[in-house]
Subunit: 309 residues, 3 copies
Amino acid sequence: MSAFSKRNLLGIRDLSREEIEVILDVADSFKDISLRDIKKVPTLRGKTVIHFFYEPSTRTRLSFEIAAKRLSADTVSLSASSSSMEKGETLLDTVRNLEAMRPDVLVLRHPMAGSARFVADRVGTSVVNAGDGSHEHPTQALLDVLTVLDHKKRVDGLNISIVGDIANSRVARSAILAFSKLGAHVTVAGPPCMLPPEPETLGIRVTYRLDEAIEDADVIMMLRLQLERQQDPVFPSLREYSREYGLNRHRLRKAPKDVIILHPGPINRGVEIDPEVADGPYSVILDQVTNGVAVRMAVLYLLLGGRDT
Amino acid sequence: MSAFSKRNLLGIRDLSREEIEVILDVADSFKDISLRDIKKVPTLRGKTVIHFFYEPSTRTRLSFEIAAKRLSADTVSLSASSSSMEKGETLLDTVRNLEAMRPDVLVLRHPMAGSARFVADRVGTSVVNAGDGSHEHPTQALLDVLTVLDHKKRVDGLNISIVGDIANSRVARSAILAFSKLGAHVTVAGPPCMLPPEPETLGIRVTYRLDEAIEDADVIMMLRLQLERQQDPVFPSLREYSREYGLNRHRLRKAPKDVIILHPGPINRGVEIDPEVADGPYSVILDQVTNGVAVRMAVLYLLLGGRDT
Amino acid sequence: MSAFSKRNLLGIRDLSREEIEVILDVADSFKDISLRDIKKVPTLRGKTVIHFFYEPSTRTRLSFEIAAKRLSADTVSLSASSSSMEKGETLLDTVRNLEAMRPDVLVLRHPMAGSARFVADRVGTSVVNAGDGSHEHPTQALLDVLTVLDHKKRVDGLNISIVGDIANSRVARSAILAFSKLGAHVTVAGPPCMLPPEPETLGIRVTYRLDEAIEDADVIMMLRLQLERQQDPVFPSLREYSREYGLNRHRLRKAPKDVIILHPGPINRGVEIDPEVADGPYSVILDQVTNGVAVRMAVLYLLLGGRDT
């Protein structure tokens, strides 16, 4: 019965444990809608959701659009290439213009860390951060947690290992915050150049060795090696990265028998994760995608005044 | 109670003063819908609106899409880059194909002056001109007038000054026609190369000096300097343009105390308009955007047989 | 009352004559919806249709989107350029991710022959092939047949001549299969390099001479010369192609008086078809486009469990 009083979802950092739990409870109750013959409820009829994706995206944009439509909201979409930002308009002017069309929610993906908060502080529309540079991607973390809950029935006390380019990953940042707030023990693993500068301030364990991250993990989250985002290559070669930090069947033998494997997608097969692992029995990668729709339905619903009943 | 009998909205030139007033009345009555909790009425349920934007656009396309959706119409969108025009199909063949899918309205933006009429003369679907080259942009003029009416309660007898590249601006052309038909006195200001060749035939006052345009203006409309559209630069430098024709706080002191500032967007901050002015108390730029949705709802409604009741 | 039990529409090859007739019957009954004042029925309310077009398309994508919306389905669209395939994700991973969002139908256009079946064999969602390389384009063939039925009242026993690049055309391949299954006599005409290697196995007549194909044809289907798809030019010049295989008024005199002309569009005016013919009294090209919406409504309806009542 607790209400969710936030107007925006900008990052996991802003959320209390209770708020995260409210979102997850609502998301859990919304899962069923996507399994029905008629996958639609009238909850957000007459609401307008603008999806403004300044970076390309498949699953996040479609997931938000499907979530909004299953709640009967109207949706319109804007990509960077089709927008007036090509004509030199500032982000703030663009979003103020969008606000003036009286949408109810603005879902924003933008390459600048902090852009979602920057916008939310300046417009009256609810803002959902769908990824702001290397800062946060809160709905991704929420769907990660929901997926872990589905398989483990709890998060408190679990060992969660996150592997890859921790320092530059909004997925990692949001996941560390979410799992930590819910009482999990988080370990991050990766080459030194990919680890956060002061990990001890985050309250997490750090290792350079994948095996060490794996051996007691209840959950392993492999990060995508974002080849397209690295200006200076941080690792001598893909082959070397894969040998040291790629998850393959052989390595997975060192993990507990009931480990589950998460990945935010899109996966680089044979780089950070082997096909045998991605498609294998421990992988819950596609469950994450399914849960993404439910989590985004919950977020849209709660931001627009819905209550956890 | 007067009906609107036009099948297309191609330009302000085609509209009588009475027809403009009908559209504005309906738009005024539709404003309220975007302020409701449920921003949707079933008026155009089962109608199909095709948005064919051959040039990129943020606010116009989204504004039309939101307008259509708030009236419960179905919308589909087509941009030049995703269309068969890339395969060499002519504009006429493309729109005849669109017509064959039995849409109710075709909203068209196209770089060729006269393209909207060309199409409307050849298809049975209602056509709305969302900007045809440097010719007309009628819904922009209608939202300009609606915004002036909101703030001034009348248009008749007002002094309206339009500043910038008058000769190449569809926004200016439609605005001059609309404000003149409604009884306003229109002044245009800009460098000689940007002024229309025979302004006296338009019944408007012309000046090369911004101060002269400002001093008795009830309304100042600053035009966007369309940097992306100028093949040959018409002015020595942006800095010089801005010094002569940019609206800043200092200059604005010469205007009447109750002046309002319009701009069609996207604005070039520091070029034709200073941030202090764009964001200041006289600016009604974002009101224009809000009114754009209402005007487009009214146009779609009236073209599809709605009546001003 | 016969049911349609297929889960996917991958190609005409998979369909029995009876199944084709069921689709055509349902399509025929759906035509009326697009002529109504309210062009919408609630049949597929709460269904989600994903349109994944890996190649650009105007009429096919819009036709599917309009068809889905007129049946009240929710639609989301994905193009190659906006998708994660740009980040190196495989087709299979992309569609598995789409499947995990629980759509009801995936409409796929992809340049690889066999891609639709490849996907359908690996996901649980219904798949509609909207063109897979040079393999099949079944909804195009169905709308071709529906258009012939409208004008000729039968297909059985008709002479159907298909002219152009038969070997590389998915439109030709699907049309040959559909018309043959329904009892028509199919002739293909084109230069040797554009004809299938073993035409006798297809049970069709082959000629290199356009006049021969025309003289007893009830139906002439001109294929688009796909200039954009030819890596090596297969013909010395457009002019020569047009002289030998282009349909003009002069040539058309050799055809029976009640011949009809089909073309899948977009047409190359003056290449494979002259404007006088494309826009003339024998042309049913735009009827094809209109029928495309009805055929796609029927396919979506039947795949989702609708019955021919």
